[in-house]
């Protein structure tokens, strides 16, 4: 059975071009990039080139790129590193719909004396701007708001937030893990101070991420024990991962517009057909301000895990905000923050596409989805015959 992969917000396929490029870094080009000999030094040169490629995609200076181990590390390092560098300020502002990499980190700081403000969102998942303006003050060390939500794809007005934060003399970090490669960025023209990205969300391997740190932003080192990454993040570099991320960034920069048009076309086709063919289904999140690849749909009266397993039987991979898939007893914190009724949150499915998806895959899923929904509704006590 062929796998139809619609779970690209979870992780993505490593691009063939990326894989080809990183192969030699295991058994042949295994030298330490910091070594004095040419054998290691040549790897150092490749890492420099990868840094330049990542900087080109982000529109920043290569010196503003810190390679990390993953998006979560970038988020943790940004938040903790800013607070450590500004010890006299005690307030953090974030949103209720952040990825746990940000939310848990902030809440943990809340346990250690920081005041943590979690901004709410409206029914479309849009940020409460008024609350942000009200809350940001002289004591605010950091504002951290995601660029786009991983579950709904809703994009936040981070450039405006960054401007506001700057005018108030605070620091702004954004988790852009779902955005890099999907929305063109130019950080040299932006007021964003720190930005996190993750390699495996844009067709690079797992185990590599980036923390962008604007020049002049005070950030405490987060890994000690070496000179790597300007002493901020010590440790021998993950050379294959970093080289791979460089290639992935290059590919993304080259194809971003064309790809997004294709992906958006497929996503819209899938979404419109499902909403039309499946009664009592609804879209979660602001339809206008959304990533081109993400669609989050709730199916009333049925449960997400059951839908996923049915899809899985047809080789279709998606994800759900239902309680049962998380192992916790409550559905997605993002959908709950948006005020999506529990009944709909339990039956939510996220489809997230990539450039590797085809129209045939979309058509096949459109064909199967109503069948699955009807089948489960036949079992449901909440659907009258």
């Amino acid at each position: 059975m062929k796998t139809i992969y619609f779970d690209n917000n979870a992780t993505t396929k490593v691009a063939d071009e990326v894989f080809e490029e990183i192969k030699p870094y295991f058994c042949e080009l295994y030298g330490n990039p910091s070594s004095m000999h040419t054998f290691g030094g040549q790897v150092g040169i490749k890492i420099r080139e990868a840094r330049e490629k990542a900087a080109a995609l982000l529109g920043c200076d290569p010196a503003e790129i810190i390679f990390t181990g993953c998006g979560t590390e970038s988020d943790n390092a940004a938040i903790n590193g800013v607070l450590a560098a500004v010890p006299n300020k005690r307030k953090i502002i974030t949103s209720r719909v952040e990825h746990p990499a940000v939310l848990s980190t902030c809440r943990e700081l809340g346990n250690h004396g920081y005041t943590v403000v979690e901004l709410g969102v409206d029914k479309q998942g849009r940020l409460d701007w008024g609350e942000l303006e009200k809350q940001i003050d002289d004591d605010t060390a950091l504002v951290t708001v995601m660029y786009a939500n991983n579950e709904t794809g809703v994009v936040f007005p981070v450039e405006q937030i960054a401007e506001l934060v700057k005018s108030k003399g605070s620091v702004f970090h954004t988790d852009a893990v779902q955005v890099v490669g999907k929305i063109p960025l130019n950080l040299s023209k932006s007021n964003i101070d720190l930005l996190s990205l993750s390699g495996h969300k844009l067709h690079a391997p797992k185990g590599v991420g980036v923390l962008y740190v604007r020049k002049g932003t005070r950030l405490a080192p987060f890994m000690l024990g070496g000179h790597q990454e300007a002493g901020k993040r010590a440790g021998t570099e993950n050379a294959p991962g970093i080289v791979g991320l460089g290639v992935a960034c290059e590919l993304a920069a080259k194809n971003i517009t064309e790809e997004n048009e294709k992906v958006k076309f497929l996503r819209d086709k899938l979404e419109n057909a499902i909403l039309e063919e499946c009664p009592d289904s609804m879209l979660n999140g602001d339809k206008e301000n959304r990533l081109p690849n993400t669609s989050n749909i709730s199916f009333e009266f049925i449960e997400g895990e059951a839908i996923l397993l049915m899809l899985d039987k047809f080789g279709i991979c998606a994800s759900s905000g239902s309680a049962c898939t998380s192992g916790s007893l409550e559905p997605s914190h993002v959908l709950r923050a948006m005020g999506v009724p529990f009944t709909a949150a339990h039956g939510s499915i996220r489809f997230s596409l990539s450039r590797y998806n085809t129209e045939q895959e979309v058509d096949y899923t459109i064909e199967k989805m109503p069948e699955i929904v009807n089948r489960l509704r036949e079992l449901s006590p909440f659907v009258a015959k």
């Binding site: 895990e305 007893l329 009944t343 006590p381």
Partner: protein, 293 residues
């Protein structure tokens, strides 16, 4: 991904006895849309008082559907007395086991069966009612139900109770009460949780004691309250009296005095000193609620 047995998968993909029996002898309905799973069981008896036919309708995950399906299979041909003896463990065993966190699905099956039998025995008039006192307000679980799952499955920890009947899995405010129920039923077996002496053995100075209380509130108590939009603040410590204020959702909860105080007290006694007792600061409780942030 959950590791389901082949039998679970089989009953999920090809469920048996889906539907509702017309003019049934017994109907059992448990769960709700909000809770994430719900089951409606109907059965019909033959002239010898044995279950002739049983059907189900279920809203829920794969294990909820599979559980319902096997339940209808298991009870066919049984008298009601025989059927009433089926435990959730029997249902789970029949499926070749369920993941621990999915055991509540088997409990839901047993509850629906009980409700249906009760419905028949009361002449079809009585709908299922909760027996006992509600302990977990988030999921509406009573002390009787908690006692039942502890006995049927030989449970010894709060986490297990949550896996089996959801109690304690929401705001966590009832976890202290669940511990007490476990202790009552399991006696020494449940000792690990409540009878451990404070982890701090030496004599504490006042400063150390206050720091340790604050640390315990931060690490052991607050996260559970936060999960449901509540919060707690340490106001003062006078000798062994710890004065706290509840914020957000916790402050609005009618059960504050009974449950929250007990949970906080139990945690502080476990981690700081056996002599501590907790009082709620009435002044600050009257103030406008300080929601998160």
């Amino acid at each position: 991904m959950w590791e389901y047995t082949d039998k679970v998968k089989d009953h999920f993909f090809n469920p048996h006895n889906v539907g509702e029996i017309e003019e049934p002898d017994g109907v059992g309905e448990v769960g709700s849309l909000a809770c994430g799973d719900a089951l409606k069981l109907t059965f019909k008896l033959d002239k010898n008082g044995k279950i002739k036919d049983a059907k189900f309708k279920t809203f829920g995950c794969a294990s909820a559907i599979a559980t319902s399906s096997v339940l209808t299979e298991m009870i066919k041909g049984l008298t009601l007395d025989e059927a009433a003896k089926i435990t959730n463990r029997d249902i789970a065993d029949y499926l070749g086991g369920l993941p621990e966190q999915k055991m509540h699905c088997s409990v839901m099956g047993r509850e629906a069966l009980e409700a249906a039998i009760e419905n028949y025995r009361t002449g079809g008039k009585k709908k299922h009612e909760l027996e006992g006192n509600v302990v977990c307000t988030c999921f509406g679980v009573t002390d009787k139900e908690i006692e039942r799952v502890i006995r049927d499955n030989d449970l010894t920890t709060v986490e297990q109770v949550t896996n089996y009947c959801k109690a304690g899995g929401g705001c966590g405010g009832c976890q202290g009460q669940i511990e007490k129920i476990i202790e009552k039923i399991q006696g020494d077996k449940a000792g690990q949780l409540t009878e451990t002496p404070p982890r701090w053995a030496g004599r504490l100075t006042n400063i150390q004691k206050i720091q340790l209380i604050q640390q315990t509130i931060n690490e052991q108590i607050r996260p559970a309250l936060r999960a449901h939009g509540g919060d707690i603040e340490l106001i003062d410590v006078e000798g062994d009296k710890v004065i706290v204020a509840f914020r957000g959702m916790c402050a609005q909860c009618r059960l504050t005095e009974f449950t929250m105080k007990e949970v906080v007290e139990a945690k502080l006694r476990e981690f700081v000193s056996k002599d501590l007792f907790v009082e709620e600061d009435k002044e600050s409780a009257k103030e406008p609620h300080n929601h998160r942030g």
